[in-house]
């Protein structure tokens, strides 16, 4: 029993010290001295890598999720004879929940794991150490641009996901199942509120972006520089990010929509 309690205490302490180290790394990356011109260009490069190159998976997934929503929504709503509310259902599900959450999960798998592996490999091949010895802070040069790129890209990807999803819903609902096009779009416009739905969804997305990218760069920067260490850190990135996104989503939903 004592051993068990000691074990819990030890693992709590080590979790806390991990969190502390991750916070320190993030703070140093964001608030250190920097050369804004160079830094901005590196960030743009990274936005291309983590954002633009994630577009295809985001668009394809968004389309399918929207189509599934359209199909499922139609079969349920048609029981009550209210299939004209399909637009509202698709749009609200996407803006409030599925857009931010699924985009963040896909982003963790597509871009987060790549960030971890890339930074980890730079560590394993002594590139980070050699940056340090050249007198360049790797936190500023390597970690910060990747962090900002993630924070900027994910909310935009999430918006794209929602838009494509709505189109997918319309494709199935209107073009295939024959819901009236006018009532589909009009219902959507009337029921989706900018500040309640779209803006709250964006806030979620920004929170997820910070958390997922933070986990990814920290796992990469702090890993054990061996092949096994890189494999483990990449897995951890995806697992921790997914859990964090789903947990935080519940919390944010409770705060944003809980008083209804």
């Amino acid at each position: 029993m004592m051993n068990w309690i000691a074990g819990v205490g030890r693992s709590t302490l080590s979790q806390l010290s991990d969190l502390g180290r991750a916070t320190l790394i993030l703070m140093q990356a964001i608030f250190g001295r920097s050369n804004v011109g160079v830094h901005w260009r590196l960030t743009i490069d990274q936005i291309h890598v983590v954002g633009v190159l994630s577009l295809s998976i985001i668009i394809v997934s968004g389309l399918f999720i929207g189509m599934v929503l359209g199909l499922q929504g139609y079969t349920i709503l048609t029981d009550y004879g209210s299939e004209q509310a399909l637009g509202q259902m698709v749009a609200l599900s996407l803006t409030r929940e599925l857009g931010p959450v699924v985009t963040a999960l896909l982003f963790a798998g597509r871009a987060g794991s790549a960030l971890t592996a890339e930074i980890g490999l730079m560590k394993a091949t002594e590139q980070l150490a050699s940056l340090e010895m050249i007198g360049v802070d790797p936190l500023r040069r390597v970690v910060a641009p990747r962090f900002w790129a993630g924070v900027i890209s994910l909310p935009i990807l999430s918006l794209i996901f929602v838009s494509v999803g709505c189109l997918g819903g319309a494709l199935v609902g209107v073009s295939w199942l024959g819901v009236d096009s006018g009532s589909f779009w009009a219902n959507m416009q009337a029921s989706v509120d900018f500040s309640d739905d779209v803006f709250n969804g964006m806030i979620k997305s920004v929170v997820f972006a910070v958390v997922v990218t933070w986990i990814a760069v920290y796992q990469g920067y702090d890993l054990v520089p061996t092949s096994e260490g890189i494999a483990r850190a990449t897995t951890k990135t995806v697992v921790y990010s997914s859990l964090a996104v789903l947990g935080l989503d519940f919390f944010l939903t409770a705060v944003m929509f809980g008083e209804v």
């Binding site: 250190g32 001295r33 160079v38 730079m122 091949t125 002594e126 590139q127 150490a129 050699s130 340090e132 010895m133 050249i134 007198g135 360049v136 802070d137």
Partner: protein, 271 residues
């Protein structure tokens, strides 16, 4: 190759005093004291696993000692603020075991990297300096290649060009001769020597290739059993009757340094 015979007594560039360093629970250094003379080639030798690379990292401020003091040119490395530490590092070059070239940059950009970051030179001048540095390591022709297109030895020479791009006052070589064929080894040896003579660089060479390293070194620091086992000129080292030094010089399996990793006796483990 003519060896500098004088026993080095000039002012030290790096001064290491009573350093204690532990990695996890394993003691690496227990009261290490050594000094690296200015403008000379200093060899750091010793059995594997004695933390020779660790010493370079302590000097570069990438690791901090638990106790004791590491001074580079009068500045105490472990107590420097981050910004001051990075300023000090501009005055040191380091050649890593793997070369550690930036994989996404071409050879030219790798060598130009320190110049772009730390100077305001215009592109023409940067190009000139980069070509000069690459010429010095014999790889001017490889200027437009990517690191992945070079052999390991060539990568290390490019890394050397990058390490000297800013004309540092000291350069640290971490196992520069590992995996080099005899020609590459000879080229590197004479490069290290030339850089030292032409630029007055303080050079620190960590190496297992004992005879080669001693042939160019002015000063030797031998590390064994968590402390400095010998410090002095290579000639004094050859003549030393310390059993540890003799064992190392002649590569005898038995002596003060044990071949076996510490373990309970074989009888106890087997029974």
């Amino acid at each position: 190759m003519k060896r500098n015979q004088s026993i080095v007594t000039t002012e030290a560039f790096v001064e290491i005093r009573d350093v204690v360093f532990r990695r996890d629970q394993r003691v690496i250094y227990d009261g290490l004291t050594a000094s690296v003379p200015r403008g000379k080639i200093t060899a750091i030798v010793g059995p594997s696993g004695t933390g020779k690379t660790t010493l370079l990292r302590l000097i570069g401020g990438q690791l901090k000692p638990e106790a004791g003091d590491v001074c580079v040119d009068g500045l105490s490395v472990q107590s420097l603020k981050r910004a001051a530490l990075f300023d000090l590092r501009k005055r040191m070059g380091m050649l890593f075991q793997s070369g550690a070239l930036f994989a996404e940059l071409s050879v030219f950009e790798n060598v130009a990297f320190p110049l772009r970051v730390h100077t305001n030179l215009d592109d023409d001048l940067i190009r000139l300096v980069v070509l000069m540095k690459l010429e010095a390591v014999g790889l001017r022709g490889a200027v437009d290649l990517m690191p992945s297109e070079l052999s390991g030895g060539m990568q290390r020479r490019v890394a050397l060009a990058r390490a000297i791009a800013l004309d540092p006052e000291m350069i640290m070589y971490d196992e520069p001769f590992v995996g080099q064929d005899p020609i590459g080894l000879g080229v590197l040896l004479s490069l290290v020597k030339q850089l030292n003579q032409a630029l007055g660089l303080t050079s620190l060479v960590v190496s297992h290739d004992l005879q080669e390293t001693l042939s160019i070194a002015d000063h030797v620091i031998m590390i064994a059993n968590n402390r400095v086992a010998f410090q002095g000129s290579p000639d004094v080292m050859q003549a030393s009757d310390d059993p540890l030094v003799q064992q190392f010089l002649h590569g005898s399996p038995d002596g003060p340094v044990r071949f076996h990793f510490p373990a309970p006796s074989l009888e106890d483990s087997v029974s």
